[in-house]
Structure formats: C-alpha cells, structure tokens
C-alpha cells in the first residue's frame, strides 16, 4: 500500500531503580538479593495487622542525591500515598508510593545521539516500595509467593515524552543507568531486576502537535530489548493506523523470544488505583541544610567528567566516553595516569583497548581486574622509556594477566628488553643480507615491498626485541 505519510515516534520512559540500601524502605528487614524465600520478609513487609511503616533515611538521601544530580527541584514537603490494587504479591492490598507530591520534580539529563546533544526533561522521581514475586509453576495449580523483595526501596524516574526514536530512548536509559551507579544509589544489575523500565510509545503524523494514543510496554530489563521492543511497537502502531485501525491505550508485554509485543489481558477496573495520602506516614520535610549536606557529598558526574577528560587529557570523544561510562573505570584511568606519569593518550588506549577487551573476554568488572593500576602503570612506563616495544608490551600484558608479577619482573625473566645496541642489530642485518641475495637484488631493482621482508627477518631473528625504528633506519642505510 501507499505510505506517503511520514510518522514521528514519541517515547517516554519510566525507570524503576532499586535503591542500594541495606534495609527496606519501611522496615528493618534485609534487602540482599538471592536469600531463601521469605527469610527477609518481616511483619511489616507481610502487612500483618497492627504494624506501622518507618521511613528509611538512606532511601530519602539517595532520592535527593539523584534529584540534585539532574538539577531537579527537591520538594521541601513530600507525601506518601497508597496505590490500591489487589495482587497476592502485594500483601497489604496497596503499594506505598508517592502521587501528588513526589520528592523530586522537574529535572533534566543530556544525552548524546549521533554526535548531537539533546536535553531530556525528567518530570519527576518518586519513592515507593517494591512488591514481592509470584511463581506460577510447579505448585499443583497454586501460585507460590516470595515476599523477600516486598518493601525494597525503589526510585521511579519518569521522563517527559521527549524521545523521538528507540535509539534516543536507549541513550537516555544508559545515561540514567550510568548516573545512578556513579551516585552509588543503585547497583544497576539488570539480571537481578535492580534496574528496569516501562516504555510509553505512540506515533503521530510528522508535524502534528497532538500526541497519538500511547501503549505502555512493561518491565523491560535490558538495553537491547528496549530498543527492539520500541521499534517493534512503532511498526505495529503505524501498520495498524495505515490499515484504518486505531491504537488503544493499553499495557503490552515484550516477548524477547518472538520479538513482539502483545496485549496483557487488562482487567476492567485495573487502572483505578484510588490514591490517597497514607495516614500511617507523616509528610517528609527536606531542609535546605539537609540538601546542602548531600550536595557536598556528590561525586563528579559522568557528563562533567567526560568533558574534563577531553580538556585535561586531550582525549577524543570516544575514549572519554568509554572511560567515564563507569566511575570505577574513570578512577582506574586517572590512577594509571598519575602513577605512570605517561602520556594520557597512551594510558587511555591501553585501558580502552587491551584491558577492556581482556576484562570483557573474562566477563569481569574493572573492580575485579587481575591487573591493578600500579602494575599497568609499570608496563606503560617501560613502553614510554623504550625498554619494550608496543608489540612486546602486549605479550608482557598477557603474562601479567595470568600472574601477579610486575612488568619489570616479566621483562627481566623472559629477556624481553628491547635491543638498542646498534652493534648487535648490525650483525644480524649483515647476516640476513648475506643469506638472501635474491631478495637484495629484487629490492635494488625497485621492488620496495621486499623491504618489509627484511624488517620481518631481522625482528624474527631478534625475537621482536629490536627497536623497530632503529632497524628500519639501519636497513635503509645498508641496502643502498
């Protein structure tokens, strides 16, 4: 069919971040992941009669930290509300959340997509408690309920509908992920559900002001899936409209196996949550003093750090981006620069190249790196002072990865020190020239390519330890 119509995609994201507190938001039960079912669910989490919630100070502090980091308004006065619905993993019959007066309002975050920076508005971020988990298999027709997660503090971060492609949505989600880990308020572990997102997606004819009807895609827990789910949903909506249909406002689930979204059976009254202020909790007042205390503890934030890396260390956008994507990796880089006193570019290339590749291959985090900053700095020093070539350095790095030896120990033990003694190099060159009269003739008759053969032979004879610049210079002179 004819598709002359151009469509614009409109996306807003709701990101749920699990706050990295030790105890729950309203009780003193532990939040650690992976405990035996229901061993971390106390009377408050179970919603037993007569219990009262008491708010966790750390959860409030973390929410304020986030608010300050996105230059948002921190509500001097915020209120908890009950969101009423019935589901077995929500024992009280309501979730304690925030509705009219959230703790964080009206902030923003800059994202980079295809070389341009775009500012995404953040409508609000509010504190709430997580629900438990339902297990539907293998209980002879019953559902099993684990309430360990019930009461875990969440910060729900709601963006404005300002993203215009799945790519922008992923960039935004990554930025939030990076930020919450920088702030140390969320471990960002997506497999364990610490960081998950709902996407509100709609389409409209390009140029139209009014938004189209949106569908909400629930519980997406990977960057790859958010992009696929949105792209799929956009296609579905456009096809539907172009075939004369209408998008209905509904909740859809993304099926990563079939790569499609499908409607969740929506119960008739599902969206009537009847919010009202929770009488068990008093309003939360946040003083200017509390705010400035937290502000003083804020680390340097990713965007600022990236900018500084570009200016202070003259790094390109790509390297600065990779290094500042995690606070620990950025710290690692700065330690290596300080310890080795080598050129920052050399340090950056080694870290974003060999080190990150080795970490990825071993599925390790930078904090688990077998090669610490001191040892890497020791290696870079030896490249810098020409003790070893870059090529030999890769061998040394591999040996460092497998042992706890320093670069100097490995270089000494394996005899990898670069030979700069021109007498030794000259002897080898003379031998190679004498052994290969045919190649010498070819070279002298104008076949320049044969030069590489000689370099290769010399390096081979010297087990890669000759200084390549020196070898080139001497060969050129000899072969005249």
């Amino acid at each position: 069919m004819e598709t002359s119509q151009e469509w614009e995609t409109v996306i807003g994201l709701e990101i749920h971040t699990q706050l990295a507190t030790k105890s729950k938001i309203f009780s003193g039960a532990a939040t650690a992941y992976g405990a035996e079912p229901n061993t971390q669910a106390c009377a408050v989490d179970l919603g037993l009669p007569g219990v009262l919630p008491v708010l966790n100070e750390q959860a409030v502090t973390m929410a304020v930290k986030f608010g300050l980091a996105i230059e948002a308004e921190i509500a001097p006065y915020s209120v908890f509300a009950r969101k009423n619905y019935f589901y077995p993993d929500l024992p009280k019959g309501y979730q304690i959340s925030q509705f009219e007066l959230p703790i964080v309002g009206n902030g923003h975050l800059d994202i980079d997509v295809d070389g341009t920076t775009k500012r995404i508005g953040i409508t609000r971020a509010h504190l709430e408690e997580d629900a438990g988990k339902s297990l539907h298999e293998n209980f002879h027709g019953m559902s099993g309920i684990d309430l360990n997660r019930a009461g875990t503090p969440l910060l729900e971060i709601v963006s404005e509908p300002e993203m215009r492609s799945a790519k922008e949505a992923v960039a935004y989600m990554r930025k939030i992920h990076e930020l919450v880990r920088y702030l140390g308020i969320c471990d960002g572990n997506m497999q364990e559900g610490s960081f998950r997102c709902d996407a509100n997606v709609s389409v409209r004819p390009l140029g139209q002001q009014q938004f189209g009807t949106r569908a909400e895609i629930k519980n997406i827990n990977s960057f790859k899936f958010v992009e696929k789910a949105i792209n799929h949903e956009v296609e579905r909506q456009i096809e539907l409209i172009e075939n004369g249909g209408k998008v209905v406002q509904e909740t859809r689930l993304y099926d990563s196996v079939k790569d499609e979204t499908r409607s969740m059976r929506s119960k008739e009254e599902a969206n009537d949550y009847r919010y009202f202020p929770d009488p068990d909790l008093l309003p939360v007042f946040i003083s200017e003093e509390f705010k400035s205390q937290i502000k003083a503890q804020l680390p340097e934030l990713p965007n600022a750090r990236k900018q500084r890396f570009r200016e202070q260390y003259q790094l390109d956008d790509e390297n600065a981006g990779i290094l500042t994507a995690s606070r620990q990796l950025a710290d690692y880089f700065e330690f290596v620069v300080n310890e080795s006193a080598c050129e920052a570019k050399l340090c950056a290339n080694w870290i974003t190249g060999d080190l990150v590749a080795a970490l990825n291959k071993a599925d390790l985090d930078i904090t688990e790196s077998p090669v610490n900053t001191q040892r890497l700095a020791g290696l870079l020093l030896r490249i810098n002072d020409n003790t070893i070539s870059g090529k030999i350095a890769k061998q040394v790095f591999e040996l460092m990865w497998q042992s706890s030896s320093t670069a100097d120990e490995i270089i000494a033990e394996k005899g990898l020190k670069q030979i700069t003694d021109s007498g030794a190099i000259e002897t080898i060159i003379d031998k190679i020239i004498a052994d290969n009269p045919d190649q010498v003739e070819q070279y002298l008759s104008g076949k320049d390519k044969v030069f590489a053969f000689f370099v290769g032979q010399v390096m081979k004879e010297m087990q890669g330890k000759a200084n390549p610049a020196e070898v080139n210079k001497m060969l050129k002179a000899k072969l005249k």
Partner: protein, 95 residues
C-alpha cells in the same frame, strides 16, 4: 454529588467488599450524604491555606538504614493457610 447504585457496586468491587443487594440502597444514601458534606466543605474559602496531608502537624521521623529484623519465617508460616518450599501458596492468579 449523588451516587448511583452502580457507583456503590463498583466501589465495593474495587475494595473487594461483598455487599448484600438489599443493603445497596442504604449505602448509596449514606455515601451520597458524605459526599454532600464534602461539597459543603468545599464551599469554604480556603485561599492562602496550605492543604494538609496529615492531621498531625509534624515531620516524618526517619530510621537509620540498618538491618534490625531477624529471619522469622517459621513463625509466620505456622499461621499461613498453605506453604511449600518456603513460599506462601495462594490460588493461581494467572492461567
């Protein structure tokens, strides 16, 4: 504002309250009366008055982030209707 019998049934359903058909009429009347009172209160001039979220004019006290609860699963599950492998069992909620 006056409620209808259907409104009352809907509210009861949302709160999962079972009400007898014979009581619907009196509930409708009582609840409408409450709303009527609200309407009267709404007519009061409240310019410059901050809305209250709680009758106690105090700030929420905060708890230090410490684990203070021990595992009490055996005691809690002793009073649960049905448990298995440490889980609380409930009638199946999805098909």
């Amino acid at each position: 504002m006056t409620l209808t019998a259907d409104d009352v049934k809907k509210i009861a359903y949302l709160a999962r309250l079972g009400i007898d058909q014979q009581d619907v009429e009196s509930y409708t009347k009582d609840l409408s009366g409450m709303l009527e009172l609200m309407t009267q209160m709404s007519e009061t001039n409240t310019d410059g008055v901050l809305p209250m979220a709680h009758p106690m004019d105090q700030s929420q006290r905060l708890r230090v982030d410490e684990v203070t609860e021990q595992d009490n699963r055996n005691n809690f599950q002793a009073i649960a209707p049905q448990v298995e492998e440490g889980l609380y069992l409930v009638p199946k909620v999805i098909e």
